[in-house]
Symmetry: none
Subunit: 215 residues, 4 copies
DNA sequence: TATGAATGAGGCTTCATTCAT
DNA sequence: AATGAATGAAGCCTCATTCAT
């Protein structure tokens, strides 16, 4: 019967919605209280479900963290891919701009994800998922390589191994969010927006031909 | 008598040596196994002492972590101060170079310290020590401000708020170590040295007058 | 549906039963082995549950002790209140008798509770609960004051501040259990029942008009 | 040589003085901070000596506690013996008065000793010393028995087994110190001196012929 | 002889995960 | 299918006691 199919579909939908609620609850709690101070109980409560239910959706707490990471990484990569397209279609800075906007647009979350990745790295429990994360990145890296080679060919970027360029960008973005949200530094100024703008500008132009002189 | 003074001195020396052994053991274990997988017992074993002895030197596990952090930060800042002097004495890139060399010279450790800082941030147990860390930085920041203002006056650096310059450097260094030691990226190339060189070069020149164009 | 309500009720009941089992296990172990020689693990084992389960019911070991104390104190006070009523209704010795019977009826337990109180006094961890204990007492004290004043008015008790009377009783009861169960004294005779009777008799009549002569 | 004998004597004296300092330090710390919150280190510090030295004088922490107990008990018993003599020499209330004065004269200490006894009871580590304590008591008990029998013969005390009389006194004294220094009761009045007087008066006359009626 | 650094057994507590209802 | 009570492994830390100096 049709209704039965619909019911199953509706059920699935509710199931996925709930899963999203769990992830969202975890994300917020991690941001609010720090990864170390969030228990599975908290997450369940915030998601408005029972603790046991969490384990119908995720095998372990680590899997929730992985999920937050993967969600984020995919979003970043998707945005970056669009930027790459734009770059190849005539707007050389588009990729870098897209990347910085994505990562610095919500720096607290970006920082959280960095910390999650650091924690999960090397945990055998999430080995598979980490590989998945790396696969996502690898695929983007291929696009990036192609793009950078093209920009080098066009004499826009310095002729160094392509990954130098995008890894430098990644590094800069990575560090920028730390700069802005690490208490030890961030508390000493409040014009974070302009600062991030400045750093983005650097990110977009760095590695461009003519920028670097030998030390 | 002299011998008694000497004995006390020798005792103190041995005490401090042992303390250093503890810190060293912790540092290595953190690097080898990840912060989460190291217990106080492990540290004691590796240091070749009893578990209780650790608590003669440190009030808590967190204090050991703080110590690693502070040791590192002080070293970095000391090197940076030397670079600042050189910069003010006619070698404009000296400070940036010194900074990048210090941080990228032992990137695994730098990365560990970043992670430790992230974990300890906001822990009331180490509030005082974190403030100490921030004080160390603040003092360096003052030197940096002076230096950057001078470089701006000399038309070497762009005329933006001074902290933009050194925070950008900090961000780049911070991110660079992540790039090189995060499994997801680092596993995909092995010419890390050159990469770090490249990034350092960027760091040294970025923010220089004429480098940035409006986006 | 009804069944759901019932289920919740049944669950609650089982929960409370288990809690009582924990308290009972602790009480027995404390009596058998001494407060110092009982660990949370022991309690859990004796109660037939896991160690972690204890912490679903009590925040800490100290809270279990407090609970034993409060349970006991409430029982004593309730009995005393009944005695006070009887006293006011024409049986002058009723209150004192009720009090002594309650406390000397199970002197080992009374003694345990005394020791628990001594240990918990001043522990900030159980400050609130101690206040509760004191509140229970305070309320009984009010009844006692009223009663004693009436007995003084009726010329049965000496005209001294009312609390002298009941505190003397309390003191005597308190000490009596120690007499009977402190090894140093108790081992030297075995007619404890008669002894306690004798002491009770003293307690019931002490402070009565005509009993005391100036020293 | 004489001087050598003297030296040894002086040494011994200093040794004993130090031992007393340890006991005194422990006593004060126990009173100030509660038995649970005093470590051997604290005691050593307060006594102005090294921790290891404590163990030249006492086999264990428990032995220090025992010592405090024994010191106290001997003092009480000595005073009581004097009172017994006075009683036998024509002052019937002398023994009871002496006893109450001794114990209620420094009720905090009396209370401490009670708590120490409760803790040490049954600890195999101090079995021998506890027996010593009991021996001290037993010897006094014999005197008391003699005395009470005499007072019964003289028709001053009720004709019940002799130990009923002095155990009742002990009980009353024991409880009185608790009444005055247990927070739950004591905080509610401040005329402790008069209260203790009142209780002493009861103690001195209780058990006297004509005081007790059948319940 | 006095010391106090070193020790490690053992306590309390947390929390991810399981499973009976 | 959802729940949350139960579990127990695992970690941090304390402190009485020892022993080399």
């Amino acid at each position: 019967m049709n209704s039965s199919t619909e019911k199953i579909r509706a059920k699935k939908k509710r199931f996925l919605e709930r899963e999203e609620r769990i992830v969202e609850a975890a994300r917020r709690l991690f941001l609010e209280n720090g990864v170390d101070n969030v228990t599975v109980s908290h997450i369940a409560q915030r998601a408005g479900i029972g603790k046991g239910t969490v384990y119908k959706h995720f095998e372990s707490k680590a899997q929730i963290m992985v999920r937050i990471m993967l969600d984020y990484e995919k979003r970043i990569c998707a945005n970056l891919e669009k930027g790459i397209d734009a770059t190849l279609n005539g707007d050389p800075g588009a990729a870098a701009r897209a990347y910085f906007q994505s990562r610095l647009g919500n720096p607290e979350l970006d920082r959280l994800v960095q910390h999650l990745e650091a924690r999960l790295e090397g945990e055998p429990e999430v080995e598979g998922e980490m590989r998945q994360l790396h696969d996502v990145r690898r695929s983007t890296i291929e696009s990036l390589n192609t793009m950078v080679k093209e920009l080098i060919r066009r004499n826009i970027l310095e002729d160094v191994p392509p990954h130098y360029h995008y890894l430098a960008c990644w590094a800069l973005a990575q560090g920028a969010v730390e700069v802005c949200f690490n208490k030890g530094y961030a508390d000493q100024f409040d014009d974070k927006e302009s600062l991030l703008d400045f750093i983005s500008r650097i990110g977009v132009t760095m590695g461009n031909r003519g920028q670097l002189r030998r030390q």
